[in-house]
């Protein structure tokens, strides 16, 4: 009997190749006769292109071809998720072309491309391309871009507005605010971030002149979707003529979901070179300028309630910066994934939110780890703190008072945030918020230790602050008829797929439509399949990432693989067991109803010696010398799974910081996280996901900020200028859990890829603001660099600010 590995902290099956240097990332791939591409990018944030002269570049050593926008006949890139669900909504869509033709809208937009024998020759030749520019005024701030007199980016988007979207009950919320005992207001800036996966993006395009087929290798989270987006939508090439392969992906965090211009460009270039493969790998500087950014909201937040701590309304107006042109799902992030989650873990009767999506002369903004939900959590968790401070109530007590109660699940949001669409209604699946809060408070010594520590820190010239974030996340995005409904979601389905083959030797190959980028899918799926089929993990291999050989799937983002992808694997395994049972009955001359399954053993009830193993069954059935009437050979089953609902992880995070009153430096002293992600397939993997997620959110609160100058130049344009968190800046994180299984999938999991990031930014922000409260500082915007905090302290003390 094979020991059950489901739920155990099994070591990862991916690791041997990575720890020995045998991972194969995009830039590690070399094809025969491969040429190299470099892209000339706009030095201006806003300019018209008068002309482009490529003649000198074409004469440079090693140059094979030079491409401009006029050479490329393809469509602008597709936009897959317009803002939806509000009446009278306009979506003023402008997406990038493969190369800009008439104008550029941000520094870094691609203008021309050189293909040469070597990468260095391609880069050298970029300098010889002469562009006659007509520079235009730029605007980088989303709120200012909507004001009269602002530079205009697109003719079809007056005042630079992409959409003006609302959700919730405007009148009811206005009335709640008019009747409220207490109203607190605050402008909150959720600054722009650069995601920074350690592997940048890159592609290899290959056109096969013999078959008129294309192959695209790229560092992508969504190979199957891209086959549609770059293939049929951009280039007019249908699925059967394009194969997409994503090799090992060195981190993504959302940046590798989208359809980028370079995909079509390398394919175009390969065809132009009669089938020589063409590789392009971005530099880190290019990644900062031309791969998506995250966040960038300016929000006017109001919270209403009673003097004794009941929250009666939340009203928010947000300017969401979407960049110079729209990325693939940019508008969906600050609408569906943000506005619909603004009441968080609280039972708030009246919520209204308006989001204005805005074009500015900056890089496009799209989903970055958490995607809309960190922004929503930041708003509601800061608002809860500001409300508590205003009424003089303990911040944990205010949260406890307003939690959605445990008997209210499945919870149907009374403010209509989770509206029924297309006959499907999303509801909060399960939850029990107070135990996680209580556990975290105890770990932090919130009531007994913190007051003493504050006093002790004060004597050392430090201000100690404690911050809470009792977050609620929506993830595992589904079901198709909800998310696919016109006007709300992607206009695409959201199911997942898996195929399981039990080969002659009993070894099992599983192919899936999801696409890992470090999340340990090969391990967790292996654990699932070992559990479902009762076989050793050594007998299983998980394959993914190649549209030729894996069933169609939507890829991995939105913490959806555990909820949706696992469902497909479990279903495919059930089909395998069913067929194996029927064939075992044939082999054992029994009725299928009399076969009982115990791990990999299929035996006749009451006759323990009449037994066949899965391996014996697969050997006989795959050879098929003797099959019953109507049974097809081979144990080979495919399943598609559309989960009935999203999942809703939750928990309490507590940050403890010390602020140096002299220098403004902030130190994260302790970080406590009690998360409930439902059942866990592998606790080691869950903790790893939380560690990394938390640190990304801490990075936003304390250090990270993408900065554009007024002229649209990216001032934080390299890793020298952008503060990715370093090991020495961080304490050991203290993790614990509660477990509330989700009822919407067979294994009760909720998802964990983004939870840490969604929770942690608000916890740290609340801690820093708590530390500064004794100085009379009510709110400070992130990131809390020493300079920002020092200035605030000096301002509060009446000194030089």
């Amino acid at each position: 009997m094979t020991a059950d590995v489901l739920g155990t902290p099994m070591k990862r099956v991916e690791d041997p190749r990575f720890i020995t240097g045998n991972g194969r990332y995009l830039d590690d791939l070399k094809l025969p006769a491969m040429a190299h591409m470099a892209i000339l990018r706009s030095p201006y944030a806003h300019a018209n292109i008068r002309s482009i002269d490529t003649s000198a570049a074409k004469a440079m050593p090693g140059v094979l071809t030079v491409i401009t926008g006029a050479d490329v006949p393809y469509n602008p890139l597709p936009m897959a998720w317009p803002a939806g669900g509000a009446s009278g909504l306009q979506n003023n869509v402008n997406t990038p072309r493969v190369l800009a033709t008439d104008s550029v809208k941000w520094t870094g937009e691609g203008v021309a491309a050189v293909v040469a024998e070597t990468a260095a020759q391609a880069v050298d030749a970029l300098d010889a391309i002469v562009v006659d520019w007509d520079p235009l005024p730029a605007v980088v701030d989303a709120e200012k871009a909507t004001e009269p007199g602002a530079p205009q980016l697109h003719e079809n988007a007056p005042n630079n507005i992409v959409f003006d979207w609302t959700v919730g009950d405007r009148e009811g919320t206005d009335k709640a605010f008019a009747d409220a005992e207490v109203v607190v207001r605050q402008r909150l800036v959720n600054q722009r971030l650069i995601p920074n996966p350690m592997e940048v993006r890159g592609d290899i395009g290959w056109y096969n002149p013999g078959t008129d087929e294309y192959t695209l290798w790229f560092s992508s989270q969504t190979p199957h979707i891209q086959r549609l987006l770059v293939g049929i939508f951009t280039m007019g090439i249908p699925e059967h003529k394009l194969r997409c392969i994503s090799p090992d992906v060195g981190g993504a965090f959302g940046t590798k979901i989208y359809c980028y211009p370079d995909y079509a460009l390398v394919l175009f270039a390969s065809k132009a070179l009669d089938g020589r493969p063409v590789k392009w790998v971005e530099s880190r500087r290019e990644n900062y300028h031309s791969t998506i950014h995250g966040r960038d909201h300016i929000s006017y937040v109001e919270i209403a309630g009673t003097r004794d701590g009941e929250v009666t309304g939340i009203r928010v107006k947000t300017y969401a910066n979407l960049g110079g042109r729209l990325s693939t799902i940019g508008p969906g992030i600050p609408t569906t994934l943000y506005g619909r989650m603004l009441s968080g873990a609280y039972k708030v009767p009246n919520v209204f939110c308006e989001v204005i999506g805005v074009y500015t002369n900056t890089a496009f903004v799209d989903a970055y780890r958490g995607a809309g939900r960190p922004e929503a959590t930041y708003v509601v968790e800061r608002a809860m703190d500001l409300f508590a401070v205003e009424i003089g109530m303990d911040r944990a007590a205010v949260r406890r008072r307003n939690f959605i109660p445990p008997d209210a699940f499945p919870y149907d949001n009374p403010s209509g945030l989770l509206t029924a669409v297309n006959g499907a209604k999303v509801y909060v699946d399960s939850g029990n918020y107070e135990p996680a809060l209580n556990k975290a408070l105890t770990m932090a010594g919130y009531y007994d230790e913190i007051p003493r520590l504050k006093e002790e820190a004060r004597q050392r010239g430090k201000l100690l602050g404690v911050g809470l974030s009792t977050y609620l996340e929506i993830c595992g995005v589904a079901p198709s008829k909800w998310i696919g409904a016109v006007g709300e979601g992607w206009g695409a389905a959201m199911w997942e797929s898996a195929n399981i083959k039990v080969h002659l030797t009993g070894k099992v190959v599983v192919t899936v439509g999801t696409q890992p980028q470090g999340q340990s899918h090969e391990t967790t799926y292996t654990q699932l399949v070992a559990h479902e089929l009762g076989i050793p993990v050594e007998d299983i291999v998980i394959q993914h990432s190649d549209t030729q050989g894996t069933p169609f799937g939507y890829g991995t983002y939105g913490s959806r693989t555990a909820n949706v992808g696992s469902g497909a694997v479990i279903k495919a395994a059930a089909k395998i067991r069913d067929k194996a049972r029927r064939y075992a009955a044939h082999m054992l001359e029994a009725s299928a109803d009399d076969i009982e399954i115990d791990g990999a053993s299929y035996r006749v009830k009451g006759s323990p010696d009449k037994v066949k193993t899965l391996q014996e069954i697969s050997f006989a059935l795959d050879l098929a010398f003797d099959t019953p009437e109507g049974m097809e050979p081979y144990l080979d089953e495919t399943a598609y799974h559309d989960t009935p609902n999203c999942t809703f992880p939750f928990g309490t995070h507590i940050a403890i910081v010390e602020v140096d009153e002299e220098t403004g430096e902030v130190e994260l002293v302790r970080y406590i996280a009690v998360d409930d992600v439902g059942n866990q397939i592998n606790p080691r993997v869950v903790n790893g996901q939380l560690h990394g997620g938390i640190v990304q959110g801490v990075g936003q609160a304390l250090w990270e900020r993408a900065v554009y100058g007024e002229d649209g130049q990216l001032l934080s344009g390299s890793m020298l200028d952008y503060a990715v968190p370093r090991a020495s800046w961080l304490p050991n994180l203290e993790l614990d859990q509660t477990v509330t299984p989700s009822p919407v999938n067979p294994i009760g999991v909720k998802g964990v890829g983004e939870a840490g990031t969604i929770a942690s930014t608000a916890a740290v922000a609340n801690a820093v603001n708590d530390a500064l409260a004794p100085l009379g500082i009510r709110h400070l915007d992130m990131p809390y660099t020493a300079q920002t905090v020092w200035k605030a302290i000096q301002g509060a003390k009446g000194g030089v600010a």
Partner: protein, 173 residues
């Protein structure tokens, strides 16, 4: 104009003809097919390209290939011996010290440099030693645990080899 560079890589002598402007990392990856050494930035911030040159950790993007002439270079591909993982590699596997794996070779090389100098580092010393190497997946926590694990394992081995019989299992603290 190419220059002839002779160097020892992972114990084997190699000769390559390189343009003087080319970096050591590019020659390792492109000319010698040692693609376990990665490039994560263009400003020497990230440390993904860390290798050993004459036994010391070096970001191979900060060194021209011609500067490696006559030197001894070790990359991630040279860490395991006879199919046996180096204790640092084993530590990363044991403690879930990696997720996407892209920073991992650089982290392992810098950890080897640390443990050669400091066999029993504190967590603070480990965090300081790896601060020139970025990881965006792990939050560093399990990387610190992995290096601690490796340090304990290497001390045990060293003690056993020295025949002192005073090996401390699992670390001294």
């Amino acid at each position: 104009m190419a220059e002839r560079v002779t160097l020892v890589v992972n114990g084997a002598q190699r000769e390559v003809d390189v343009e003087p402007r080319r970096l050591l990392v590019d020659v390792l990856r492109d000319d010698l097919n040692l693609t376990g050494t990665h490039v994560g930035c263009d400003t020497s911030q990230c440390g993904a390209c860390t290798v050993h040159v004459d036994g010391m950790a070096v970001k191979s993007c900060t060194m021209l290939a011609v500067q490696a002439d006559g030197r001894d270079v070790r990359t991630i591909e040279g860490m395991a011996t006879d199919g046996e993982l180096h204790p640092i590699q084993a530590g990363f596997w044991e403690e879930h010290g990696l997720q996407c794996g892209f920073c991992t070779p650089g982290m392992i090389m810098v950890a080897a440099d640390l443990l050669a100098r400091t066999p029993d580092p504190t967590d603070d010393e480990i965090r300081h030693a790896i601060e020139g190497n970025y990881c965006r997946c792990t939050g560093y926590q399990n990387i610190v645990a992995a290096i601690r694990h490796a340090a304990a394992s290497m001390r045990t081995t060293t003690a056993a080899q020295a025949g002192t019989g005073t090996a401390v299992q699992g670390g001294a603290r």
